[in-house]
C-alpha cells in the first residue's frame, strides 16, 4: 500500500462526529410503518439517473490484472471450476525450466509419474483460482509442477510479466517475489525488480535461495502467477487483451504492496 492509499484508509472524520448516539436514538424513535406510507422519496429516480450516468469507461489490462490478482490472493478457497478442469500438464519444475529455456545443461530433467487420479486428487483440493476470469483477461495455461523447486518452504509466490514492447526497446521482465500466508490469505510482497535478459533465459535467485528459471515470451504479453502448495507448484498464465504499459504495470504492483 502506498502512502496515498494509507492516507485514504486512515482518514476517519467519524472520530469527530458529534451525534452518533443521538442519531441512533432518533432513528429508533421513528415509527417506521406509519412513516413509510407518506414517504415516497425519489430513490428510484436517482437510481435511474445513476444507471444512465454509468457509462463504460476504457478498460485497462493493468486493472484487469490487478483485479485478477486481488481475486486470486484475497479470495478464500475458490474451487477450480469444472469447465477448466484439464488437461493439465504434470512435469517437474526442472523439466519445465529446461523446456522453457531450451535445455539447461546443468540441470537434470526429471519427469514425475502421476496417475490422473492422483493428479486430480491433488488438484481438486481448495485452490485459489477464481471462478470467473476478469473482463479482458484470458486464461492461457495452467501447469502443475510436481516435485516443485520453486520454493524451499512452499510459501513463496512469484508473479511475473514479460513486456517486449516497452520504451527501452528490449525485453524486460518483472518479478514479484512474495510470501503468501495461506492461513490468512494475505499476500506480502517482499521484493520486486525488473530483469532484462537479451538471451531470453533468466535465472533468478530469490532472497531465500530459490532458483527460478524463466523464459521471456516474446510473442505474448502474459502475466504468470506461480506458487507452491502442498509440495506442488502451480503456474497459470493470463493474457491481457492489450499489453500493459510500464506505468500500468508499476501501478498494479504498487496496488499490491
Amino acid at each position: 500500500m502506498n502512502k496515498l492509499e494509507k492516507m485514504l484508509y486512515e482518514a476517519d472524520p467519524s472520530a469527530n462526529a458529534p451525534g452518533k448516539c443521538a442519531a441512533l436514538a432518533r432513528l429508533e424513535a421513528v415509527d417506521i410503518p406509519r412513516r413509510k406510507a407518506g414517504r415516497l422519496r425519489p430513490a428510484l429516480a436517482a437510481a435511474c439517473v445513476c444507471l444512465l450516468l454509468a457509462g463504460a469507461v476504457g478498460t485497462g489490462a493493468a486493472q484487469a490484472a490487478f483485479e485478477y490478482i486481488r481475486e486470486v490472493f484475497f479470495t478464500k478457497e475458490v474451487v477450480v471450476p469444472e469447465e477448466i478442469e484439464g488437461p493439465f500438464e504434470f512435469i517437474s519444475s526442472a523439466e519445465a525450466s529446461a523446456r522453457q529455456c531450451g535445455e539447461i545443461e546443468s540441470r537434470q530433467v526429471k519427469t514425475v509419474e502421476m496417475s490422473p487420479e492422483e493428479a486430480k486428487a491433488k488438484f481438486s483440493t481448495p485452490f485459489m483460482l477464481p471462478e470467473i476470469l476478469p473482463e479482458g483477461m484470458y486464461l492461457d495455461m495452467i501447469k502443475v509442477y510436481a516435485d516443485s523447486e520453486y520454493s524451499h518452504d512452499g510459501r513463496n509466490v512469484f508473479v511475473y510479466y514479460s513486456n517486449d514492447n516497452n520504451k527501452y526497446g528490449y525485453p524486460m521482465m518483472l518479478f514479484i517475489i512474495a510470501r503468501l500466508d495461506w492461513e490468512y490469505d494475505t499476500l506480502n510482497i517482499t521484493e520486486f525488480q525488473w530483469i532484462t535478459d537479451e538471451k531470453n533465459i533468466t535465472k533468478y535467485i530469490t532472497a531465500d535461495g530459490t532458483e527460478v528459471y524463466s523464459f521471456l515470451n516474446r510473442e505474448d504479453h502474459q502475466i504468470k502467477i506461480s506458487f507452491v502448495k502442498d509440495n506442488f507448484g502451480y503456474t497459470f498464465s493470463l493474457r491481457p487483451e492489450e499489453p500493459l504499459t510500464d506505468e500500468e504495470l508499476i501501478a498494479m504492483v504498487d496496488s499490491m504492496r
Partner: protein
C-alpha cells in the same frame, strides 16, 4: 408472503457496523459533519423502510446499503443544487470541533471534491466505505475492471491535487 420487519436489535447492530463507513463516505462526498450525519440517518431510515424488499440473494448487504447511500447522496446533491460545496459549508462551524478535526482529513476532502463525480464516488466507496472493487462495480453499474481503471485514474489525479495543496502523497 410474510412481510419482514427489521428487528430493532438488528437495526442497532447494522448501525454499529456501518456507521463509520457511511459517515466517512458521506463526509468526503458532502464535505461537512452536519451533512454526513443527516445522510447517515437518511440511509438508515431507508434501510428500515425498504428492508422488507431486500433480497440477500440479489445483492450482498454491503452493496445494497451503499447503493442506498449513493442514491441518497445524489438526492442530497440535487437538493443543494451543486456537488461542489462552498468553502464555508466544508468548514465546521464549531470551533472546538475544528481544532479536533484532522487537517489532513480536510485537505483530503477538499482534494477529493476536485475530482470528477464518478471518480469521487469510486474513491469514497473504496477507501472510506471500504467496499471491494466488485461491490463498487455493482453500485456504479460498471465492470470490476472499469472500477479499477476509475480508481487508478482517481489516485493519479489525487496525487497531483494534494501535491499542489502542499500535502505530500509520496513516501
Amino acid at each position: 408472503m410474510e412481510r419482514r420487519i427489521m428487528p430493532r436489535e438488528s437495526l442497532e447492530a447494522r448501525y454499529e457496523q456501518y456507521y463509520k463507513r457511511l459517515y466517512n463516505y458521506f463526509y468526503f462526498r458532502a464535505g461537512s459533519h452536519h451533512d454526513a450525519e443527516d445522510l447517515v440517518e437518511t440511509v438508515f431510515e431507508k434501510v428500515v423502510e425498504n428492508y422488507p424488499a431486500y433480497d440477500a440473494g440479489k445483492a450482498p448487504f454491503d452493496v445494497w446499503i451503499f447503493t442506498i447511500a449513493r442514491n441518497s447522496l445524489i438526492d442530497f446533491t440535487r437538493k443543494t443544487q451543486t456537488a461542489e460545496l462552498p468553502e464555508d459549508a466544508r468548514a465546521d462551524s464549531n470551533p472546538e470541533r475544528e481544532v479536533l478535526e484532522s487537517e489532513r482529513d480536510r485537505a483530503l476532502a477538499d482534494a477529493v471534491a476536485e475530482l470528477p463525480e464518478r471518480e469521487q464516488s469510486a474513491l469514497a466507496m473504496k477507501y472510506f466505505a471500504r467496499l471491494k472493487n466488485k461491490e463498487i462495480a455493482r453500485i456504479l453499474g460498471c465492470s470490476g475492471v472499469n472500477t479499477g481503471v476509475i480508481l487508478h485514474r482517481a489516485l493519479k489525479k489525487l496525487r497531483v491535487i494534494l501535491t499542489e495543496k502542499g500535502v505530500s502523497p509520496y513516501e
